[in-house]
């Protein structure tokens, strides 16, 4: 229960960061915090019935973790990483003309 609350707090704080933070770099970092929360939630969902690594051995009689959410979130981690990398490249380009990277300034100039 405590873990679940902590995970949701991470997700919400990350989301709040994307709205609240003015610096574009910080917005992206906040998005990463949010995705960390989501990944943790998948891990938590996998560990509901057991925490042992899901490698089946006949002589081992323990409660295995659910492999499906773990496998699935691996894909999402990879995708999140590549999107993050792409956005950082974009930010690098923008920082030449807008060294402060204030989202509001860039927006005003480009809308």
């Amino acid at each position: 229960m405590f873990l679940e609350a902590a995970v949701f707090a991470t997700i919400l704080l990350g989301f709040l960061g994307t709205v609240w933070k003015q610096n574009l770099m910080m917005k992206i970092m906040a998005m990463d915090v949010m995705s960390t929360g989501v990944i943790a939630y998948y891990v938590l969902a996998a560990a509901r019935k057991g925490v042992f690594t899901p490698i089946f051995l006949p002589e081992r009689r323990v409660d295995y973790a659910d492999p499906v959410p773990q496998a699935v979130i691996l894909t999402a981690i990879v995708i999140g990483l590549s999107i993050q990398a792409l956005m950082l490249v974009g930010v690098m380009k923008l920082s030449r003309t807008h060294p402060t990277l204030e989202a509001r300034d860039i927006e005003l100039k480009n809308s």
Binding site: K27, A45, I79, G90, L94
Partner: protein
Amino acid sequence: MAHLTIVWIASAFCWGFLIYLLPRLTRLLALLGGVGSLGYGLVLAGQAEPVRLRLLDHFGVSLFLDGLTSFFIITNALVTLAVIFALWESEKSPFFFAQVLMVHGSVNVALASTDWLSLYVALEVLSIAAFLLVVYPRGERVIWVGLRYLLVSNVAMLFYLVGAVLVYESHHSFDFVGLGEAPPEAMALLLLGLLVKGGVFPLGLWLPMTHGEAEAPVSALLSGVVVKAPLLPLIRCALLVPQVEPVVRLVGVGTAVLGVLYGMFAQDTKRVLAWSTTSQVGFILAAPEVGGFYALAHGLVKAALFLLAGQLPSRRLAVLQQEGMPRALGIPWTLACCSMAGFPLLAGFGAKVLTMQHLLPWQVWGMTGAAVGTATIYAGAFLLPWKPLAVPLTAGFWAAMGVLLGGLAVANGVYDEAFTWESVWKSLVIIACGWGLYWGAVRRVGVRLPLGLERLEHLLGMMSVGLVVLFWLVWSW
């Protein structure tokens, strides 16, 4: 058919990666991808039985393709083909064409998959490829627009992922069907993700600026097919889960009305077209069971309009009204505008009639208003004077127009029962009202609607509001 489906899904990506290895054959390979999809879509449309595929047991990938899907696949294929033709003689690098195929392939996957995780992967790949196409000119403005798009869509997809795991916990699979048994918060989270990606009011207001600022062929691709990818899953959920249907219908009406309202008063041609895309998304969602045909009609016309808008001498509507448009573009432009407004003998007419017949009583007034508004928007564009201006038009451009407008004429035959005296008369009255509204009011008053909702902070902030409202809607219905 199962084997064919898998080959078809993989082929677009294969051709795309092959372009990197054989850059000389770029345009040919890109064309192959489009033609393959067109062929598959036509074969699928002729099938009586839907195709069901389930790979790796109940928690794996599941695909489902039926007649509804075939409309979307054909739209995707025709628009991609048209964009490739339009860029045939351009200087675009093989990288660009490879990304076009990535967009094409991931849209195909998103249309075919009926489990939350495959859909997630497809939509994320789609947004990466679309981002790369938008920022291809590497100007500061497009980079900002692209970043904004990526940030908004990725945050929305994170909410979506939480919803997906909630479905898994209650149903032990990621199938769309599981949504019915899932708690309301799962439904709200998943719907939020799809609505934001689909550019639905008031969550998807990233759309007008993104579609307006991209290059013309990229806008054609974005408006023609990319927004359709999250719409089909929304339609599927609405048909599968009774609690979702009223929500989808409601946001459909809201989007249609809001989109035309903004579109009427926009001053920039591409922005007008982009706002019109927002409103047409509403039309597709307002009657989910017949949304496929509407998506086809809209995709073809909007792609044609964006390609044409790219050839106009100015983007400002006021300048165009003074100086006129090149005579060579006149006929395709008029045809496309007529189809958008729902003029008989073009596919837009059949699609509108079909949608209007499947509305619920409480939707009728809103959607009729939106139809009148659409006619008003295109009255402004329709009445541009034709002038003998010279524009460099390539053969590829005309081939693209041939594909899109030819498709429009052929699609007209899909629903020929639409041609009753009553519906023809009704649509003419709607168009007349729209034109009257344009001449009487819109042309004279220069209203500037506030664009604050399009700011990045508000786009993100609206998601929290949207989440609360969606939760309440799903929970109370």
